[in-house]
């Protein structure tokens, strides 16, 4: 049995096609990432799969249950962490956890082993109100609450937005451990470093999946030669590269710009062109694409 099986889901809000004929399967114990910009349809998809929103057409089976006809049963099988912090701000950390355990007819003790690693980090603050927690601690509490009834499938909608790098890293280490317990995880994120930590990812834009594969396969499919370019005038460099007709795409990548070029352009020729435009300390290297290069390419082609 697939953990999640989605077929031809459509959802429209007035004139806007939020989800356009989406179909995909998620294997049991898989970490499946949905990667895309704000407004691409990620949250609508999550809400449909968690039985909180009705699709216009199509079917979705989650843990063997239909999201429409079995909506009551399904909620016992899934954990959902929405993008916006949705716990009770005026209950304490412990009260929130207790509340969610009780709603699902269980106790904190019964499934403590599942949340132990995460919850221990916030336990010293268990008498603090949830509204007074920092971003990283709110996130840990929200994950604990989503896990306390031992769901088979976890839905995490942009769980790391606004969380610092150390907490983000710990959070992903936690997800790997949950995967070892055979919990399936569907997670959305706009961050490409997190995309590479998923088993498979789907790149979504304008309500459509552009590509679904392992991060490595998506990278391997990047077929064009890619160069990194750097000079002493990075902003001018960006404009000059974009105006050069032998440069196909040019995006900023931190300290360098990444470009794809026409086949007949040589490094020497580009160097001469840039030197002519008064650039100094020019460095050009052939590089391997990253998942972010792939994303930029796909996003551009589908604008």
């Amino acid at each position: 049995m697939k953990a999640i099986s989605v077929q031809n889901i459509n959802k429209k809000y007035r004139d806007i096609q939020a989800l356009n004929n989406i179909s995909f399967d998620v294997e049991q114990g898989e970490i499946y990432g949905i990667i895309g910009p704000d407004g691409a349809g990620k949250t609508s998809l999550f809400r449909i799969l968690t039985s909180l929103l009705l699709a216009d057409s199509g079917t979705a089976i989650v843990d063997g249950l239909d999201v429409v006809s079995d909506y009551k049963e399904i909620r016992k099988h899934i954990g959902y962490m929405p993008g916006r912090f949705s716990l009770y701000q005026d209950l304490t950390v412990e009260e929130n956890l207790e509340f969610f355990a009780t709603v699902f007819n269980t106790t904190i003790q019964e499934n403590y082993y599942l949340i132990k690693d995460i919850y221990q980090q916030i336990e010293p603050f268990k008498n603090r109100r949830a509204g007074k927690l920092s971003g990283g601690m709110k996130q840990k509490l929200a994950l604990s609450c989503a896990l306390i009834h031992k769901p088979a499938i976890l839905f995490l909608d942009e769980p790391t937005t606004g969380v610092d790098p150390v907490s983000r890293k710990e959070f992903w280490e936690m997800l790997r451990k949950l995967k070892e317990q055979n919990i399936t995880i569907l997670v959305s994120t706009p961050y490409m470093d997190e995309a590479t930590l998923c088993d498979r990812i789907a790149l979504i834009q304008h309500g459509r999946f552009l590509q679904v594969d392992t991060p490595q396969n998506i990278i391997d499919r990047f077929s064009e030669p890619l160069w990194s370019v750097k000079s002493n005038l990075m902003y001018r460099l960006l404009k000059d590269l974009r105006q050069y007709d032998k440069v196909k795409t040019c995006f900023t990548f931190g300290e360098t710009h990444h470009i794809t070029v026409n086949n007949n352009l040589t490094v020497a020729e580009l160097k001469a062109f840039l030197a002519d435009k008064q650039h100094k300390d020019i460095e050009i290297h052939t590089i391997q694409a990253t998942i972010e290069d792939c994303y930029m390419q796909l996003a551009q082609n589908n604008e």
């Binding site: 993008g83 610092d164 150390v166 983000r168 490409m192 995006f251 931190g254 300290e255 930029m296």
Partner: protein, 247 residues
Amino acid sequence: MAEKVIQTENLTKKFGNFTAVDNISFSVDRGEVFGFLGANGAGKTTAMRMLCGLSYPTSGKGMVAGFDIARQQEDVKRNIGYMSQKFSLYEDLKVWENMRLFGGIYGMRDKEISTKTDEILTELGFINERNTLVKELPLGWKQKLAFSVSIFHEPKVVFLDEPTGGVDPATRRQFWELIYQASDRGITVFVTTHYMDEAEYCRRVSIMVDGRIEALDTPANLRHQFNADSMDGVFQQLARKAQRGDN
């Protein structure tokens, strides 16, 4: 030597027994894009509030845009811009109304405001959104607009507090191009971010741990110094040493 737009000397802020910011000394040049990094709870926000003239230092000195942050707070505020992800624009005002409001607050003349509004909206490609309520704009557009509004009055320095949370790589790039453009015009950009790939866009970055600046250099030099292949590697090494948690 380059003009210093931000300069601090042993800047310190204590809350009772707790030293939130502990003797930080650094300077930022005119037109520089400076990344101010640190884990939650490291003291970034407290430091930034002092630099913006919103909080008095307990000890130490700081000059921002030519004014003393302890004695000339109102002058500091008039000469800086500020944007954060949490608050920047009024959601229930139209795009042009937000620009009118912020221009007015900074004492710009009506004519100047209306010319500049047209100029900026054209440049951003938002001219048709002039009468749209801000809450109806997509997140990425809001952020770009908020940045443009924060430098509407041509401040010497703009403070960006986690400006790009929650947006995809394509939108973030467009945002960073606006930052480059402002820096090219001579505006100093002081930015905090939780995303280490963004740190690589800064000319120099500082990393705060437990209220102190533990590292400050160009991204390339820091990677070299800490023997890491990315800024994330540098950050993880430093931030994991923190004694105080993020509470």
